[in-house]
Symmetry: D2
Subunit: 320 residues, 4 copies
């Protein structure tokens, strides 16, 4: 019977993590559980940096970006010794189970640690890349997409007024989800993603032809995993002879006030994670699929996510 | 075989309608169809206010709120004579099929008109209320929710700083969807919706008790169909003796730059509507359900939408 | 020689108050002063609710709306007994001087209190109404104007798409500053302010004439001190026979992330206030006039502010 | 006596240019002048790309970024032959005077051209860099600052959550105005500007010392004219051994919905420019100084603008 849980955020921060923390803490308190907040992810477990959380600990954070628990990568936890020390902390504070808020890397670590020490772990998927398999959306991806879209809208003003070509790099190491969403919603002319071979020569051909017809403003979105904006812009300039600007949106996509989708998802999943632990479940993540809360085993969640990129790509091209 | 289609927006405007128009027009052109844009909804068909649209007609509108085709309610179309005149226009311009962008009222009209005159009509659900049955989301509801949420976040600053009770009225005539999403995401203390009986006395009791414990800031969201903010605020003041402020968000929820969700949905559905017409379909709406594009008969779409309000309401209360 | 100061926020909250607090506290610490934060304005002095503040007390608040010190009106301070108790607190904690962040009412109270008990008070003007005399801008007014403008932009989408008349009520009890700024920047058709007699009949005449020429979308801004949106909308409907919508923006104008102007002003003035106290000044407010930091006696600051409304009004009408 | 004027936008685009165009066109029409809009800046004069503008030509643009007249640099206009052809267009269309919306480069060109061909030119300062001498603010700089500030706020979420050092490059080739405003308002730890020698070693020393005390999150703003974010980040990593991220905000600062300040300034100056031409003035720019509309000779306007950077810099450091 679970009496005390701990919650932590690991990996890259994502907008909505604070809403998830709020939901885990308040719902757990509502269910008569004790809750501890662990700081700096796995590092805080290893180094005993954690404290008791109550209802008031999570006041007025639902609309803040980032994570009040802080986060980070933790190489020490990859080593057996690190995990052993983390387990010492768990025993010392009589923690019965963990809620791990993070992405694929976080779930991989929780999967290993939970089985090694027989400590129930439930994951809440939070990652701007939307790359957790078996669920529809991760917490934070909707916010990141809207932040990138807002930047694209700004660039469109200038690209139209000054009649220029822009290459805009968005996040997405293995996954073109952000790039495709933004390119479609932004009315962009082309998009380069990791899942699809890209023919830059054909695009340059289109640009030159477009130029002859009077189409002089172009925005090309590239996912960071598929290329670098400065390099692509340089190649386009070389191939077409037309001045091409570039911008790397980078970390502005990580922060900011979470959108309604990111917050509502986080709040529903926080409760769901606590419910899972109360029901004796472990070694899995909660998620939304088809508008319903469900769970997916960590083993499945960390597999490469498939995504019908062709449907998006062909629509983007058809509307250009 | 369809050669020429017309597109119109009817009913209340919703952010993302322009993205839907863009997609219908450009994809139809891409499929070698002719397209006409009809102005002011059904009124434009009755009064022959329409014109040829091409690829350029919808440039630079993907990120604009409102609708370049304009919209409005049209009582004349309820009468047989109005519909007869609309059909004259359709014959005169050799229009083979209609794409109708709007909500329940628009689909009811399209259902009647399409069958009466045997003119294929496909609907694209756009309405901030998210009240179209058989599909997950309408175009515009995500934007309206984020606009309302932004207002709630602002009110929270003042409600916390000045320690006050606020009643905030959001849109939703028959449907508490906006109110529930916003109340959850905004960390609000209570929510009043059409689908659920509300006990104002119990809430006032909570407020007074909270006040004794030192909880002096409250935000209560009410859907317009379930009550009026000024009246509820007045009652709370009377019952508790505590100063209570009210705000009716009203039409600011209708406008604004559409979010990524509203735009991407609109762009996918615009194509889907044209594909339906090309496949010989009619008398139905396109929509997303479980992340997939599908169709729903107008007859089903216009029925009252059911929505699991208890799941949302109990979570809001558990987290307060 | 001043060794310890206290800072408080009083009256209505305004975006940027937190930035002002940050600047007062950190600059005072930088100047080797001790600082206390007083909670809930004068009430906190009367009821001894205050605590020591240091550099870390004001971390990560520069971009937050509201005020971490909380605020409110305090009728007890109007009475001699209240002020006597406030002075007891000041003696007890060996506070040498006060920084009072607020508007006209706050300065009136500080003026009286400071002279009565010979306690140096320096005011920092923060009020969304921009109604402090002798200085160009109050902290918060730029943010409030941008919030109202964003709402007006949203309403324009719907007013244009649905061809409707809107009356929008903004803040401004004695002062049309917000209304004029917003009406001009929003491209609105008319504006009603306290400083100027308004001829509703003439406006209705313009509306009807415009309607005949095809101009069917109107936005009329009204300052709360000059009329109520619901009443004016009702009268326009009666006089013109045209459906007229209304919206009262209310408290959403108070909150929100402060703009750069509101923050930079607050940060410069926080330092300036501490510098004044160090220089032995008292009974005055700091402010920006012509881009320079200067001071204005409380007696002058609380007089009615004059403002060239005709220049603004005639431009609004010329551009309609 | 002036009967017909033409308006054009040249140089880099700035948010609020459309508001300025609206004001020039509508106020000129209001004053019974004829107006032409010239496309693509000086290029449009050389290549006879211009058309008649009326009241409706500038409807619904007040809130749009970019410029409907389009803009660009025009090397042909630097050559005598280009200017001669531009003058041919002016004669052919019986244009009596020009309103030139742009920055320093635009005014330099207008100064030369106006005197060469005795054509009255009045400038409206629009440039995100705020680098026009003799006036307080250029149209667009407030919007650019707020866009950059919003990015900085996002980065702060991540920098605090992940405890990292960030170098953020903002616009400002010769002028640190944007960088200083943003660094102060964003609560940033340091700022590098063209007007001031920067000691990177001292900063690295502070970072390392801060790190020992537990201060692990830093944001350093750099103006593009004073250094490159990637290079500075690399040096900090080398000097401190601490991972340092960088981001170049670039063109997202150019676009976007203009703020109230940018729009109101543009609308007042548009009228002022037309009034100048009607009063027979020429070879000067209109501007706001100390809250008043005034004029400044082109010769003065294009000189290097001085700006009290020390006041800003020392405040930023005192508050860190």
């Amino acid at each position: 019977m679970i009496k005390k849980i701990a919650v932590l955020t690991t990996g890259g921060d994502a907008p909505g993590m604070n809403a998830a923390i709020r939901s885990v803490v308040r719902y757990a308190v509502n269910q008569k559980l004790e809750v501890m907040g662990v700081f700096r992810g796995w590092w805080g477990l290893i180094n005993e940096e954690l404290k008791d959380f109550n209802h008031r600990s999570v006041s007025n954070i639902v609309n803040l970006g980032g994570t009040i628990l802080k986060t980070g990568r933790c190489p020490e936890f990859q080593a057996e010794e690190g995990r052993a020390r983390a387990y010492e902390t768990i025993k010392k504070y009589a923690i019965d189970a963990l809620v791990v808020i993070g992405g694929n890397g976080s779930f991989t670590a929780a999967h290993k640690f939970g089985r090694e020490y027989n400590i129930p772990c439930i994951g809440i998927p939070a990652s701007i890349d939307n790359d957790v398999n078996g669920i529809d959306y991760t917490i934070g991806s909707d916010t990141a997409i809207n932040t990138a879209l807002s930047a694209i809208d700004n660039i469109r003003d200038t690209s139209t007024s000054m009649e220029r070509i822009f290459v805009v790099e968005v996040m997405g190491r293995d996954c073109g989800y952000i790039a495709l969403s933004v390119a479609l919603a932004g009315g962009c002319e082309d998009v380069i993603i990791p899942e699809r071979k890209f023919d830059l020569e054909a695009t340059c051909h289109d640009i030159v032809n477009g130029n002859l017809r009077g189409k002089v403003s172009w925005i090309i979105v590239v996912a960071e995993g598929a290329g670098s904006a400065p390099e692509i812009a340089k190649k386009i300039t070389e191939m077409t002879g037309l001045e091409t600007r570039q911008i790397v949106l980078g970390h502005i996509q990580r922060g900011g006030r979470p959108t309604a989708v990111s917050r509502d998802l986080a709040l529903h999943l926080g409760k769901a994670a606590v419910d899972c632990l109360l029901a004796g479940e472990k070694d899995k993540a909660v998620g939304f699929t088809c508008g319903k809360i469900m769970t997916v085993d960590f083993e499945t969640a960390i597999r490469r996510k498939e995504f019908n990129v062709d449907k998006w790509y062909s629509l983007i091209k058809a509307l250009t």
